[in-house]
Symmetry: C2
């Protein structure tokens, strides 16, 4: 037996017990006649003491040779500590060591194994196994496990059944983003790794396996932006004989349970917001509603004056920034620079300072009088001491720009508190979105999403207006889950493929099995999927997902620790019936 | 809302309630003025009644048009059934239907959706979504979920943390069996799908994430025998600061818990058996110990007589088959034919009938007298009424043949009762096994398994004799789990790679990251993995795993339902920097 207790287990109740511990040397101090070692494992840190008066000389000498991250085993007696540390569970005791065994020596680690390490991102990824020893990463992984277990328990208790769907499947029309796997046994053919188990969960509904869920890896081969991973984890769910309301109920319940169970936070019924409302009010289909700064549309009051910039704009829209009336000219200029950056792309910004005395001072005083500006303040909800920022231009683009500004200001103003949780549903998404390059419509969600029956007629006349039975769960400015009620009859599904520009043959080759299945008694069904990586990071109060993934890949899709991907040998290529291009 | 209750929920306590149900038409009967429909969903079956006296004419007529597997919704009143069926939960009631909606029509299914279907394996796989509607498959999937949840709960309660390891990793030396994934972003390079998360779980131990587990898909591209799948699921586990005993304790506990919780069966402490003993006593490293028929080695008593077949054999070995003394000459000849089949490969068999009066009658009476045969009976444990079968030849081969005979006879004698569970540990596996073709030694388990320290010296002199700290959990003749204590220091790991025929460069290219990791403070560690598919099938009392996998592949690795793998287009190949050979 390597240990009688772990390094987080001992306290004053164990005093005088003989114990055996094993772990890593976190740090050691040596005062000549006394030496201390902090011994660390997954569960905590326990202080060891070596004392020339009470410790055998050979053991004492050995203790002095211990380097950081050495793996050791000690036997000793639990004794009361002289200088107690009330902040740590083991802080009242220490171990007077009688025996010491070095289980494994360690090279000096390339960065410090401390909460605040001196290691940069790259080196920490290369030695991820050392990074995982640090509390911030270790605790994130433990936290992730806790969240996943709660999800499973909650859904199982509601009679959901976790079903494993296959990883070696068929390439889909969004195939360009599929990872593929050459088949050795089927020459010239390839499996694809699933971007999601979408069609399989629908087939499970056709198969009567109502109330399915799965915590499952998914794969997407796209150019990686920061904080995207080629493999990611979904909580994937589907139910039969349900309407949108049933789904929202169940998964709002799940999220509320997680917030309560994991964070101790009780939240009310989630607000619901249509996609149109979210875009108009926040310029964003995943609005962060932890703070206000809702958009005020100013066309009616700001146009038809002398200011040609506004007069020619499709949309004039502003936000009132709380307590920003004090911004200096320099700060304002800085913000104007910020919104002109290519990533945001605005061409300029108008501002109105709302003075404490109820008067206004704006950058367009030449064109607007106090009464005009008072109207702006009313519409944007500005109060004395606030600042109104106004953008103008093409409606969609301008909203997106103002949303970026709103988020940036909220960050600067400290309004994005990670310990405040403001979930909501965004509903009534458009079914289709226009791809401006090709002029073709794409499914906004995916081709299996059902249109709202009352909008079906618009499919022929104004496809962009058709709303879908689709919904997203949004938390603190992030889409954490999304889903839809699905099409469940062959005719509608065929129609949908037609509108999406599939030929009949293409639709059949790709999804014949699904449309066949719909002919054999498919129930109405719908579901959703949560992004687990993101969900866990947000619940954990973090901005990035990387610490919540044990072995993440970098922005080139590489695992720098194991150095993958890598070349494979010619024989293997031959067996797979492929060669390098 | 599509339903107020599911089809398994209603009973006599609901009589007179107005309810809404939805589901599939299991069957319908029509007696002219009355009609009945059995409505089925995941949860059960409820009888619907349509009655010309009480049901509106249009509804009655509609009911008569319903075909098998139509998806319908009905409203009606729960009434007491005239002819009650006490065997089903809803058997005391039926629903007098007032409204009927056809939610989806269905073509006639290609096979009957019944427990005993008329559909063969092939058609059921093609329409797997219909197969899943059948109770045997549906219940197997629900059972699998239950087992997986129990595993997770048990391990979580013991402080194990489920950590997701990556699926896109690096090809290993057993690379020929890797599925690979060409990288778009890293030209000419490939990921591999994991055959197991072995190295990652070891790195987690180096990272201090003691007590890891994961229920995880693994992939192996090998020629598929019946009941093997290219993707399969493991319960993968690893612990730090443990010896073999600690691991056996924890996972014996898990298995005992599953048997008790899932099957209601309490089992004693698992017997332990060395690999050598298992091979000598059962001819098999995964012995089925639900029954006896242990091997008796007869060399000492059967050789040095006149029977040259035995005299020239390395091993003469027999089993006593209980109550087989009555076998007719024809039955015995049949068995002799059976063991001569190429799959078994014996050249002949000697038998001894143990008469009820204590005398013996054998096929070799010419060479052996009653006293000789009494010795055989004593060694094989034969009792009056039993039959002894004896094989001879090269030791290893003969044991394997006799093991096959033992299993066949047990099956014929009904001794392999799937509701009896006889788990055991097989320990002290050899570290290496000789590949007869290449004359080289391979790791029997994998190259990370640690040799027993006391056998280390044999590595140079008699490598086949070195025992490993490796163990298998065996249940009813199946290996359901296996693992080992790992090597945790760089020097030993390097030595092992050397003995396995790796050059230093090869070892470094493939596993440099692991050996690097061992230099930074690797703790002693070990673990094991269970095959979930097999475990669930055995617990479910089934011989084959296929019904416990939602969407299995056939023996050519094809998913015949979605028709994968499939060709992909040239553009996609180009983007992946490969072409077809």
């Amino acid at each position: 037996m390597y240990r009688s207790h772990n390094c987080g287990a001992l306290n004053a109740s164990h005093i005088n017990q003989e114990v055996t511990l094993a772990g890593w040397v976190q740090k050691s101090r040596d005062k000549g006649f006394m030496a201390w070692v902090d011994l660390r494992d997954r569960y905590g840190v326990t202080q060891l003491i070596f004392d020339t008066a009470r410790t055998e000389a050979s053991v004492f000498e050995a203790a002095k040779t211990l380097g950081r991250e050495f793996v050791i085993q000690v036997k000793g007696t639990v004794i009361e500590r002289e200088s107690k540390n009330k902040n740590m569970p083991t802080g009242e005791i220490e171990i007077l060591v009688s025996e010491l065994t070095i289980l494994n020596a360690a090279l000096t680690p390339p960065f410090t194994i401390e909460d605040d390490t001196d290691g940069g991102e790259d080196i920490r990824m290369k030695y991820r196994y050392l990074d995982i020893r640090r509390n911030p990463v270790k605790n994130s992984l433990l936290f992730r496990h806790k969240v996943a277990m709660e999800v499973r328990k909650y859904l199982s208790d509601l009679d959901f059944c976790e079903v494993e769907t296959p990883y070696l499947i068929k390439s889909t029309p969004e195939g360009a983003r599929d990872f593929v796997v050459p088949s050795r046994m089927n020459e010239g053919q390839f499996y694809a790794l699933p971007q999601s188990p979408q069609t399989f969960k629908q087939l499970l509904m056709v198969g009567g396996m109502d109330k399915y869920f799965q915590i499952v890896k998914c794969f997407r081969d796209e150019d990686l932006r920061a904080d995207r991973q080629p493999e990611f984890t979904q909580i994937d769910c589907e139910m039969a004989f349900v309407e949108q309301e049933d789904i929202l109920d169940v998964f709002e319940g799940l999220t509320r349970h997680l917030l309560l169970e994991i964070k101790g936070i009780a939240v009310d019924k989630f607000p619901r917001m249509t996609y149109d409302h979210a875009m108009k009010t926040y310029g964003n289909d995943k609005p962060d509603i932890r703070f206000g700064m809702e958009f005020g549309e100013l066309n009616a009051v700001a146009q038809h004056k002398e200011f040609s910039v506004f007069n020619s704009a499709e949309l004039v829209v502003g936000i009132a920034v709380p307590k920003a009336g004090e911004y200096t000219r320099k700060e304002i200029d800085g913000l104007i620079e910020w919104i002109k950056r290519p990533q945001v792309g605005a061409s300029g910004m108008v501002y109105v300072k709302c003075n404490e005395d109820g008067t206004y001072k704006s950058s367009v005083d030449k064109f607007y009088d106090q009464e005009d500006l008072a109207q702006w303040a009313k519409i944007t909800g500005a109060k004395p001491g606030d600042m109104i920022f106004v953008l103008s231009g093409p409606a969609n683009k301008t909203r997106v720009q103002l949303s970026a500004l709103r988020m940036e200001l909220a960050t600067r103003l400290g309004l994005r508190n990670p310990e405040v949780f403001a979930p909501l549903w965004v509903v009534d998404f458009p079914l289709l979105e226009l791809d401006e390059e090709s002029g073709r419509y794409h499914a906004m969600h995916h081709p299996f999403t059902s249109p709202k029956p009352e909008d079906m007629a618009l499919l022929e006349t104004d496809p962009g207006k058709v709303r879908a039975n689709a919904y997203d769960m949004v938390l603190n400015g992030n889409e954490i889950g999304g889903g839809s009620i699905r099409i469940h009859d062959k005719a509608t599904q065929q129609l949908m493929f037609k509108y999406l520009g599939f030929t009949e043959d293409e639709a059949k080759a790709q999804f014949g099995f699904l449309m066949d299945a719909f002919q054999f008694g498919a129930p109405p069904h719908g579901g959703l999927a949560f992004g687990l990586d993101r969900l866990v990071a947000i619940l954990g109060g973090q901005e990035t997902i990387r610490d919540f993934i044990a072995f993440p890949k970098n922005n080139s899709g590489r695992d720098v620790m194991i150095d993958a991907p890598a070349a494979i040998d010619t024989k293997q290529l031959q067996e797979l019936h492929i060669k390098l291009a």
